[in-house]
């Protein structure tokens, strides 16, 4: 289990390779990366800046990762979330879950992303050709999280 909150860019290949190294019990690895898009709601996005609540961020991400490890039999898990200013195509977040079998890896990875989207204290502001604007939260994120409440896995 590992959580990292950082400003610098990360290398997905290196992170995944470190995560699974020397663990031959891993049969499946699922990972998700969120990337900066160059358009949002019809406007061109020049940069995306993420602000966060340092005292709370690590605590919330660790809680999400711990709950995923309670729900599923994971061999390894990882959440990396960046803050600061990023350009289109840069990665913002990396969530990964490794397990003996694929179902646990997929479910845990998606669970962590869905919870992160509603529970991790990050806020996005876009610098667009219409000026800077705070990104609105999406109702679909609350719905995605709620799905997990009623099911075991």
């Amino acid at each position: 289990m590992a959580i990292r909150v950082q400003r610098p860019i990360f290398d997905i290949g290196v992170e995944l390779s470190d995560l699974t190294a020397d663990n031959p019990r891993i049969g499946g690895l699922c990972c998700f990366t969120g990337l900066v898009r160059d358009m949002n709601n019809g406007d061109a996005v020049a940069t995306l800046t993420l602000e966060h609540y340092p005292g709370m961020t690590h605590k919330q991400l660790a809680k999400i990762e711990a709950e995923a490890n309670e729900r599923w039999a994971l061999e390894a898990s990882l959440i990396i979330h960046r803050y600061g200013t990023m350009l289109p195509e840069e990665p913002i977040v990396l969530v990964a879950a490794a397990s003996a079998h694929r179902h646990d890896a997929f479910a845990a990875c998606q669970f962590m992303m869905d919870y992160l989207k509603t529970d991790a204290p990050f806020w996005k502001v876009e610098d667009t050709d219409q000026g800077a604007r705070w990104v609105d939260s999406r109702d679909s994120d609350a719905t995605a999280k709620a799905r997990w409440r009623d099911r075991e896995s």
Binding site: G34, Y53, A120, V135
Partner: protein, 83 residues
């Protein structure tokens, strides 16, 4: 009491963090916000629609009716948009 503001709340209020000594009646986030609104136009604007705001007490998500007291860290922010 330590207060923190994030995202557009921080921008409207004009600062990200402050230490305040609210009256004893400010014993919940709701009551604290009522007092904060009297402190200036930025606060009144930031807290004009409480339904658009989340609160955390001591770095945990909380309700606007939860009890708060002098040593607490209380943070106000819009719904999160990371990931």
């Amino acid at each position: 009491m330590k207060l923190l503001y994030f995202a557009w709340l921080r921008q409207k209020i004009g600062l990200g963090e402050e230490t305040v000594s609210p009256p004893e009646s400010a014993s919940t986030p709701t009551a604290l916000v009522d007092w904060l609104r009297t402190r200036g136009d930025g606060y009144a604007l930031a807290f004009s629609d409480i339904s658009a705001i989340k609160v955390a007490i001591n770095q945990e998500f909380a309700s606007f009716d939860d009890p708060i007291s002098d040593g607490d860290e209380v943070a106000f922010f819009p719904p999160v948009t990371g990931g």
